[in-house]
């Protein structure tokens, strides 16, 4: 074939080779090119395929969480039960506990059943309990305490149906499966069917799932993600405003200023090692450092944010350093040559060019922080916590709260299958939250991208 040593350097195929007709070697190379390209496409395809599979299973499992079954009934607010002293004194009214409100609601539903002439074997209003969410009494009580004048009147009241009823309408609970169920009977389902006919029982969009607070095990129908979303929000604020600047600053120091010595090597190794520390160990650290040592409040998003900051830092540092490294030295030279200081050359030229990588690191780091549960376990943000809206910004950072992934994790563990659907629904919200969070970074990243 080739005689590479011959004078003048003969080519295997003279000038006559046509450009459009490839020789065998070119064919091979082109085939390998095609293969390579196909691998790339296949890799992206695989990634996207998994994404689609995951998203479909998330959406198909979770979309039902956004609909909820309600019962709409007029409730008579019996003064005898709610204000035994008859003086409308708020202090007295608030002495009546939720247990006092339950019969009123059960009566209301039972009357509705009788008014509509629905045939049923139940004779006692108390039997209606299975249809009604335990949250209804608390809701009604709040409303009465806020407006004691309502007592004695009949108010139209939209109450949550119990999770079993909701499950029945969503097809999760079937007539044969309830034969084993202690909480609800076939007779109840007959009533539900009848009430649904006339619209007393209906499904509608459940804003409370997005905005509401967590509920106890026995009230899945009431549980919402709103409060823990705020928890995540405040944590992410902490992470973003600490991890990003600190991470970028540390990277700049290490990549651009640090002298090459044992000490900076030590810092460098430490940072990459921190990336491999299991997140739960950061929880141990957070508990020791922030709660036990610094006496910050327990279960507070501030502490969670600080802990996650420490966890996210290595990710940001590693990606930032990688992209700083990729900026060609001639750019630095150019800046130094016109008399810019090192600091100026870094901040004016190198950093903007490294921005895409920094933003990528931020996106990935924040995504990781947003989805992390394990460290929160140890600083008290997992469990039954997200029950109250924080009042104001300071309490947003300081008062006990959970976070979205912790809430979802908690729901996924709960026994009532109604929580299973909510866990998936929660994941949908989490992903939307993540996307919203990332859009800014992605848009910025596209702005900064350039080739030179």
């Amino acid at each position: 074939m080739t005689d590479a040593t011959s004078q003048g350097g003969a080519r295997p195929s003279g000038p006559s080779t046509r450009l459009t007709a490839a020789d065998s070697r070119t064919k091979k190379r082109n085939a390998s090119e095609k293969r390579f390209r196909a691998y790339g496409l296949a890799a992206i395809g695989t990634g996207l395929f998994f994404l689609v599979v995951l998203l479909t299973s998330i959406i198909s499992n979770g979309s039902t969480a956004f609909m909820q079954t309600f019962i709409e009934v007029p409730v008579y607010l019996d003064p005898e039960a709610l204000d035994p002293n008859g003086n409308r004194d708020p202090a007295d009214i608030s002495k009546v506990s939720t247990f006092g409100y339950n019969p009123l609601i059960q009566n209301a539903v039972f009357e509705q059943v009788q008014d509509k002439g629905i045939a049923t074997d139940y004779e006692d209003a108390g039997d209606m309990k299975a249809l009604i969410s335990a949250s209804a009494a608390a809701q009604l009580r709040d409303r009465v305490i806020a407006n004691p004048d309502l007592i004695g009147e009949t108010v139209d009241f939209q109450i949550l149906a119990s999770s079993r009823v909701d499950g029945y309408l969503k097809g999760r609970v079937g007539r044969d499966s309830i034969t084993q169920d202690r909480n609800i009977d076939a007779g109840h389902l007959d009533i539900v069917d009848a009430l649904r006919e006339d619209g007393t029982v209906h499904k509608s969009f459940n804003f409370a799932f997005i905005t509401g607070a967590d509920a106890s095990e026995s009230r899945p129908e009431q549980a919402g993600l709103g409060v823990s979303m705020l928890g995540s929000f405040f944590m992410m604020l902490v992470v973003l405003f600490l991890a990003l600047p600190i991470g970028v600053a540390a990277s700049i120091y290490l990549e651009e200023f640090a002298p090459q010595n044992k000490f900076t090597d030590f810092i460098e190794v430490n940072i990459s090692n921190l990336a491999a520390v299991p997140s739960i160990v950061f929880g141990i650290l957070g508990l020791a450092a922030f709660i036990q040592f610094a006496h910050l409040p327990q279960s507070a998003p501030l502490v969670g944010g600080l802990t996650l900051t420490l966890m996210t830092l290595p990710t940001i540092v590693i990606s930032t350093r990688a992209s700083l490294k990729a900026v060609p030295p001639s750019i630095r030279d150019a800046a130094l040559g016109v008399g810019a200081s090192k600091m100026q050359s870094v901040f004016h030229h190198v950093l903007p060019l490294a921005m895409p990588g920094i933003l990528t690191g931020t996106i990935i780091g924040l995504a990781q922080a947003l989805g992390e549960t394990a460290p929160l376990l140890l600083i008290g943000m997992v469990g039954y916590i997200a029950t109250n809206y924080p009042e104001g910004v300071i309490s947003g950072f300081m008062s006990p709260n959970s976070a979205m992934p912790a809430q979802i994790y908690e729901w996924a563990k709960r026994a009532d299958p109604a929580y299973y659907e909510r866990a998936w629904g929660g994941i949908i919200i989490l992903l939307v939250f993540l996307l919203v969070m990332n859009v800014i970074a992605i848009v910025l990243r596209r702005k900064f991208e350039r080739r030179w």
Binding site: A43, G47, F50, A276, V277, P278, I284, A367, Q368, T373
Partner: protein, 484 residues
């Protein structure tokens, strides 16, 4: 003066200083100043803020201690009821003091009243209750007077704090402004400041490391006192049990960690790299704009979802191929393979996105050089671009590997909880991290080796990964010296 106010005042002074410092050099005329006017501004602002805020922080940290010890001294032992501690009494004191503050703030009590009320004449619990401050019990007279002292001390402290901070700020302002003349090297001064900031940011990594070591070392020590290190490092069995007599050998867990991480990387690195290469070299801008963020969603899906995905989808799928009905290699859906595959999927964006950015910043002239020689695009990528981007790609892969080592949920759901040494990737195994979590959140006596082993595991893993990182640094260095 509330801290926020103080903070804002200093900030305002800094702003004034900035403008003044700037103005002084710009209006001076004559020779061109050493640095840009803004640097003089920043120099003054820095001199206003740094000492003042430092003092503020130190004061805020120290004052509670001092006030506390004063009040504690005043209370004496007498005031501490049986079974309580001075610490708890103090938190009662603080709560009452805060309560009085809140009541005064809401206008339910005058401040003289707050300082003079006595338990004998007023039901303090009730009065505070009106302001929405709940107390656990009735307030004793000692506590109330201690709370009143506490308030006065704090008020004095706050007064002096404000004075000192403002004085410092003003002093800094004066100092900074006198410095603001053309020959002063303001830029160098500011840059030194910035450099110190950068260095301290890097030092945070060391602080974190020290923190981790400190929070692990005590309990690890404890563990090795009740469980011999020789067995921990020497035994090949991991079988904790509540009744005692557990065997806690780390090897099966280390092996599981290694095995699962390797499989995860075998999945993630090629897919991620190929995806990155395609995105940065082949894909059109539209595709890139969409595919990259979409792949990044994979990194944002909570790991519990991956865990469930492993358990419910991937496990059964693998079982149908490699299980009894297929090749017969697999006992159950949960296995190293299941967890590794799913973890690999999660790690794809770690490799792809970062590498994409790095590859994208390889100068175009190198590509041109290669195309000009008649190289195909893939040859260019394989032989010119990837080597040039290698340091960054190594970083991305290390990051992914780190994530793989640290991951829990996927292992718990996907790999099974069996600790065993086996070569079969279709066997169930578990990892160090998963066991740290399970032993830490388990039911065992927290002073028993079964619970404390979590710390020893954490410590060991920490040291091992440290060693690996030192090794990686060494390799990267060696490689880097060859080129560039």
């Amino acid at each position: 003066m509330p801290v926020l106010w103080l903070f804002l005042i200093v900030l305002a002074l800094a702003a004034i200083g900035f403008i003044a410092g700037r103005m002084r050099v710009t209006s001076a005329g004559g020779k061109r100043p050493h640095s840009l006017p803004n640097y003089y501004g920043w120099n003054v602002a820095m001199k206003v803020m740094v000492p003042a805020y430092l003092a503020l922080v130190v004061w805020l940290l120290a004052q509670p201690f001092l006030v506390n010890s004063q009040v504690v001294g005043m209370l004496g032992d007498r005031a501490v009821p049986e079974g309580s501690t001075i610490g708890l009494v103090m938190s009662d004191v603080r709560r009452v003091a805060d309560g009085l503050d809140a009541t005064v703030a809401q206008g339910l009590m005058t401040s003289e009243e707050a300082n003079s009320i006595r338990t004998e004449f007023t039901d303090v619990r009730d009065r505070l209750g009106e302001a929405g401050v709940a107390l656990g019990s009735n307030v004793s007279s000692e506590v109330l007077s201690a709370a009143q002292t506490y308030r006065t001390l704090n008020a004095t402290g706050n007064f002096w704090m404000s004075t000192v901070v403002i004085l410092l700020a003003v002093g800094g302002l004066a100092w900074g402004i006198t410095q603001s003349h053309g020959s002063f090297r303001a830029r160098n001064s500011v840059e030194t400041g910035v450099r110190i900031i950068l260095l301290s940011a890097a030092m945070l990594a060391i602080l974190t490391t020290i923190g981790i070591v400190l929070s692990l070392v005590g309990n690890t020590w404890h563990f090795f006192q009740i469980y011999p290190a020789s067995k921990f490092f020497g035994s090949f069995t991991w079988s904790p049990s509540f009744g005692g007599g557990s065997e806690l050998g780390i090897w099966p867990l280390l092996w599981g960690t290694l095995y699962i991480s390797i499989i995860a990387l075998i999945v993630a690195v090629p897919i991620g790299l190929f995806a990155a290469v395609y995105l940065s070299e082949y894909a059109g801008p539209r595709m890139r704009a969409w595919a990259k963020p979409l792949l990044e969603v994979l990194a944002g899906i909570p790991t519990i979802v991956y865990g469930l995905f492993a358990l419910l989808t991937v496990g059964p799928l693998l079982l149908s191929v490699f299980g009894r009905d297929g090749l017969g290699w697999m006992q159950a859906g949960t296995a190293v393979m299941t967890a590794g595959l799913v973890m690999g999927i999660m790690l794809i964006p770690f490799v792809s996105s970062l590498s994409d950015d790095i590859i994208n910043s390889v100068p175009q002239s190198l590509r041109d050089g290669s195309y000009g020689l008649g190289a195909t695009q893939s040859e260019t990528i394989k032989q010119v671009i990837l080597p040039a981007a290698l340091p960054g790609i190594v970083g991305a892969v290390l990051l992914a590997a780190s994530r793989a080592i640290g991951e829990t949920m996927i292992v718990v759901f996907g790999a099974g909880a069996a600790a065993r040494l086996s070569l079969n990737p279709f066997d169930a195994m578990t990892t160090v991290t998963a066991k740290i979590v399970s032993q830490l959140t388990g039911d065992a006596d927290f002073a028993s080796p079964e619970a404390l082993v979590a710390f020893a595991l954490g410590m060991t893993l920490f040291i091992i990964t440290l060693g690996l990182n030192v090794f990686a640094l060494y390799i990267v260095r060696k490689y880097r010296e060859q080129y560039e």
